[in-house]
Every structure is written in C-alpha cells, then in structure tokens.
C-alpha cells in the first residue's frame, strides 16, 4: 500500500463501496435492493478489517491534514461496528416499510465516511467538512418516511437546527484562525501556547463547543433529539444515536485534549456544568415519555452527560473511559433500537410502552435480550454498561471531581426507574388488545446477537479493551 494513502485506507474502502453502490443501483435486478445492503455491509466489514491491519501504526498525510493514530483507529472500530449493525438491521426493515432503495445504503455509507473522517481529521477545515458530510447524509436519511408528518418534521428540524449549529462552528473556526493564524490543530496548539489566550481564542472555542454540543446533543442543544428519533426510521435513529455521537466525541476530544490544553481549566469548568445539566435534564424528562423511541432519545442525551463526565475528568483514565464507554454505548443502544425495530403491533412499529405488556410470555427470547440491553443502559453488572460507568465515574473521583461523580451516580439511579419500567411491562403486565408480534428477520437477529455478544463480552472482560482505549488516547495527552 502506498504510504501516502495508508492513513486514509479505511476511509477509501468505505468511499469506494459507496461509489460502487451508486453504479450497482443502476444495474438489474431492479425490484429488490437487498443485495445492495449486502455489498454495503461487505464494504464496512472490509473497512473494519483494514483498521485491524493498520492497528498500532502512526502516520500523517496530505500536509498533515489527516492523521492515523490509535485514537482514530479506535473510533474507526466503534463507527464501523455501529454502521455494520445498522446495515444489518436495515435490510429487512427498509423493505418492510417501503423505503428500501440504493440511495439509502449509499447515504448510510457516506455518513459513515464522514464519521470516520472526523476521527482522522487534524485540521478544523477538514473536521468541518467531515461534520457536514455526516450531517447532510443523516438529514436525508432522517426524512426517508416522507409521506409521514413525523418524518418530514424529523428531517426539517434536524436540518434547520443542524445548519444553524454548523454556522456557529464555522464562525468559531474563523475566530480561532484569526487568533492563531492557522486551522491546523498542531499549529493552533503551538500558537495558543506561545502567549496568554486572548478573548478571540476563547470565544472561538466557545462557538466550536456550541457546534459540537449540537452534534452530540448535550443540553441545552438537545431539543432536536426526541423529535428526530421519533420521526426517523428506527435504523437511522440508531445510527444518529451511536455513530454520529461517537464521531462528535472523537473530534471534540482531539480538539480539546491535544489543541486547547492551554485553556483546559476554562473548558473543564464549562463542561462540568454542561455534563450535570445534560445528565439531569435527559433523565428527568425521559421519565415522562410513553413512546419508547422518545424515551431512548432522552436516555441518549443523559448518556452524553455521563460521557462528558469522563471528558471533564481528563487524563488517560478519563479519556480512555470515554472511548470504552462509547463502544459499550454503541452495542447497547443499537441493540435496544434493534429489538424495537423487530417488533410490530397491528402493522405498526411497537413504539408505545403499552405494546410491551406481556412480551416476556409471547416472545421470551426477544424480551430477555431487550431486558439485558436496558440493564446495560442502567449500568447493572454483569453487563458492559456497568463496567463503562464504573471507569467513567472512577476517573472523575480520581481527578478530584467527587461531586460530579455523586451527581452522576444519583442520575443513574433516576434512570433505573424508566429502564426498569419497560422490563416491568414486559414481565409483570398482561397484554391488552392486539398482540405484539416479532418480524422474522435473519439479518436483524444476527445484529442483535452481535450486539448482545459485545455487551456481555465487554461486561465480563472489560480490561483488554479498556487497555486498548487508554493506549489509544496516549498520543493526545503527550
């Protein structure tokens, strides 16, 4: 492999697959598009393999704009897993709901490409372009149920608020360029370290944080999340909840840890407040939801708060905990969305809490799997959610943020209420009215199996992956 393109090899695989799909879409057979999903999945899996082959290498390319390091590769793995599971879940789901098309898979791949690029980017311009590539694809994907009112609302809301947030981001980049004379992260770090930080730099960073805050849906930039998740196809909601957030945190961590070390006390104080607000608002509002997709949306907001605890804690423990948690969160959340997507009640998706009454009796396996995913979201051992939260909150305590850890643990207790409520419905309520049925789908079940394996494996034996995560953040902390 040519040394110049090696740092972007996983990205090239995904991009190449997307281009191939665009051509294959024009060829027969024209009826079903399922084979395109298989090709897309093969591309993502190939990218995952390339990532594994490249593991441990470090390189830069294209005038230092793109980096290859353990940090980027770790996020490549997280994002590829999210994309692969979402593609598996999409195959039957899209056909069932009449939205299967070549463009769907192409856009999933383009958004995946944007996410991976965010982890590899070492220049604010490139981060912005990657952010837009990811977001533009997701805006369209969120609106695939065009004929439904909620689908249109979902896409419109996501697009308008997202475009607004992108504006903040670009303005921040411009101010930082004005303050330091560069958009390259390394040169910004050098210029910012040379003299005391001026207001231009601090305001610029603040605007960047607004842009990132929207993408990871932290409070007060979370308003779009429930409506978008509710109206978007469930498979797309899973991708927005996992991949796009992981990508947002990848770029955020790289910018904060490697570039803005100079003003660390400032952004730590700011993120402390954001973390507390995000956790609390997400959990409290989630209690009131009777729609499971909306509940998971608020729960994902709350989880962003937990991850921010790790960002505030900093260091190899905190940042490593963030990476580990994002992997855990990806498996768990895709799994939870996956079970919802396989359930149907009266030709409609089973998204209401009532639809889950007595599910343990009619579909014991699916109910048990969903229960395990929900327990992992709650943070119960032996699931991965427990290990993830343990490392995040432990890092906060080690760094002296005792109160932050206390608030986070209290929040987890609040969250247990609404996660366990679904389990109570499944196991202790009788079913009413039309029974909820499960859709036969081999691909969907395979995705659930992989997600469940991830949740249990990372829960029982977290140490190897955690060590990888901590090694991955080491280059940023140098």
């Amino acid at each position: 492999m040519d040394a110049a393109v090696r740092p972007v090899a996983p990205l090239l695989v995904v991009a190449g697959t997307a281009f191939l799909l665009l051509v294959l879409d024009l060829l027969p057979p024209r009826g079903t598009k399922r084979h395109l999903g298989v090709v897309a999945l093969a591309g993502v899996v190939a990218a995952l393999l390339v990532t594994v082959v490249l593991w441990g290498r470090e390189a830069r390319a294209f005038s230092g704009m793109v980096v290859l390091d353990g940090f980027a590769l770790f996020f490549d793995v997280v994002i590829c897993y999210a994309a692969a599971l979402v593609l598996l879940l999409s195959m039957d789901y899209c056909g069932r709901h009449g939205i299967e098309s070549g463009e769907y898979y192409v856009l999933v791949l383009f958004s995946t490409l944007g996410m991976m690029l965010m982890a590899h980017a070492a220049d604010l311009i490139l981060i912005f372009l990657a952010l837009e590539l990811m977001s533009l694809s997701l805006y369209v994907l969120a609106g695939f149920f065009r004929w439904r009112l909620t689908g249109g609302e979902s896409a419109m809301k996501y697009f308008l608020l997202g475009a607004f947030a992108s504006g903040f981001f670009v303005y921040g980049v411009a101010l930082i360029y004005g303050a330091t004379g560069s958009t390259a992260l390394e040169r910004i770090a050098a210029a910012a370290g040379a003299r005391p930080p001026g207001p231009l730099l601090v305001v610029g960073l603040g605007l960047l944080l607004v842009g990132f805050g929207f993408k990871i849906s932290s409070v007060p930039f979370h308003m779009w999340a429930p409506d978008v998740y509710e109206g978007a196809p469930t498979s797309v909601a899973a991708l927005i909840a996992t991949g796009s957030k992981a990508a947002g945190f990848a770029a955020l961590l790289r910018v904060l840890l490697s570039t803005f070390k100079v003003v660390q006390p400032d952004w730590t104080a700011l993120l402390w407040g954001v973390a507390v607000l995000t956790m609390t608002v997400g959990n409290v509002v989630a209690i009131a939801q009777s729609n499971v997709k909306r509940m998971l949306a608020y729960s994902s907001v709350a989880h962003v708060g937990y991850v921010l605890v790790g960002v505030v804690a900093g260091g190899a423990l905190g940042a490593g905990g963030v990476l580990f948690y994002l992997l855990v969160y990806t498996f768990t959340t895709v799994g939870a969305f996956g079970v919802i997507l396989l359930l149907e009640r009266g030709r409609q998706e089973a998204v209401n809490l009532d639809d889950y009454g007595g599910l343990a009796e009619s579909h014991p396996v699916l109910a048990l799997v969903l229960a395990l995913f929900l327990l992992s979201l709650t943070g119960m051992p032996p699931t991965a959610g427990f290990a993830g939260k343990f490392y995040l909150f432990g890092a906060a305590v080690r760094s002296g943020y005792i109160w932050l850890a206390v608030i986070a643990v209290l929040n987890s207790a609040v969250a247990a209420y609404y996660y366990l409520r679904v389990i109570v419905y499944m196991y202790m309520r009788d079913r009413e009215g039309v029974p909820t049925g499960a859709v036969p789908s081999f691909a969907g079940r395979l995705a659930l199996g992989i997600a469940l394996w991830g949740v249990l494996q990372l829960g029982v034996m977290p140490a190897p992956v955690l060590n990888l995560a901590q090694a991955a953040v080491a280059p940023l902390l140098r």
């Binding site: 005038s63 372009l129 694809s137």
Partner: protein, 172 residues
C-alpha cells in the same frame, strides 16, 4: 485612504445587513443581501484577496442571489411583489444611467483599440504569487488543501444523492 474606504463600506455592510433582517418584504430583503455581499467583496479587495472578491461577486452576489430571488418569487406570490411599483418615478432615471453605461463601454473599447490608456493590456494587474492571488489560491487548493478539496467533492455528491432521493419520493 484604505481606512476611509473601509469605514464607508463597513457602515453600508452593517446597515444593509440590518435592513435585510428588518424589511418585511422578502424581495427587498434579498436586494439588501446583494448590497451586503457586494460590500463584503470590497472588504476582500481591501485585504488584497482578489480571487475571493471575484468569487464573492460571481458566485454569491450573482448566481446564489438569482436563486434566492427565484425561490421567493415562486414560493411567495404575495401582493407585495406583484402590486404597483411604488418607485415608478425612478424609471425615468434608467435612460440617463443606461446612456452613461453605454458611454463607459464605448470609452473602454476605444481605449483598448488604441493601445494603452484605459483598460489596455498593460494596465492589467500582474498576477504574482502572493496571498489572495489566483495562483496562490490554486496552489493551496491543489497542494496543502488537496484532501479537503476532494472531500468537498464527496460532500457535494452526497448532497446530490440526497436531493435526488427526496425529489424522487415526491413524485411517486
């Protein structure tokens, strides 16, 4: 001199931006946006970025604004745009202004034919390798920023696929 120009242009830019937000009539707002974009182009010129200034005028003040005006006229056929023109008296101004433009064009053509003078080839600015010039922009775009340039093309492709998807679904 530069400061004076900057002050005038900056004031016009801010005023037109305010007017854009405050006018109720969307067409007036769009026209104020043209003024604003033109002022920004002049600011680029003051900074020595000729390429950016040209691109600003051609792409933003030209192409994108035409789209804006089209969209407003197609989407909002309100009375405000189709009613009687309140500035009817100003139409008479078109005749002397048009004659003035004709005179200018004639002068430039005449000057270039006789060589030297106004608009002769010798008076064209020398394009050198300096910040903001076309050559330096080209070198940056296909050198240091090659990767970002290529990512932009993928971004546009994704946008294209997205638009086609949404439009196709509409007709079904």
């Amino acid at each position: 001199m530069a400061l004076g120009v900057f002050l005038i242009v900056a004031i016009v830019a801010v005023a037109s931006a305010l007017a854009l937000v405050l006018r109720r009539n969307p067409i007036h707002g769009a026209l104020f946006l043209v003024v604003n974009l033109g002022c920004v182009a002049v600011l680029y010129l003051l900074l020595g970025a000729e390429f950016l200034a040209l691109a600003q005028v051609i792409i933003y003040a030209g192409a994108i604004m035409v789209l804006f005006v089209f969209a407003i006229m197609v989407l909002i056929p309100g009375k405000e745009e189709t009613g009687p023109d309140p500035l009817r008296s100003q139409r008479l101004m078109a005749v002397p202004l048009g004659l003035f433009l004709l005179l200018e064009i004639a002068l430039v053509l005449w000057g270039s034919r006789s060589g030297g003078g106004v608009g002769g080839a010798a008076s064209l600015p020398q394009v050198g390798v300096r910040a903001g010039g076309i050559e330096s922009v080209g070198r940056l775009l296909l050198g240091d920023y090659l990767f970002a340039f290529e990512v932009t093309s993928i971004l546009l492709l994704a946008a294209l696929v997205g638009v086609l998807t949404l439009a196709k679904r509409k007709s079904e």
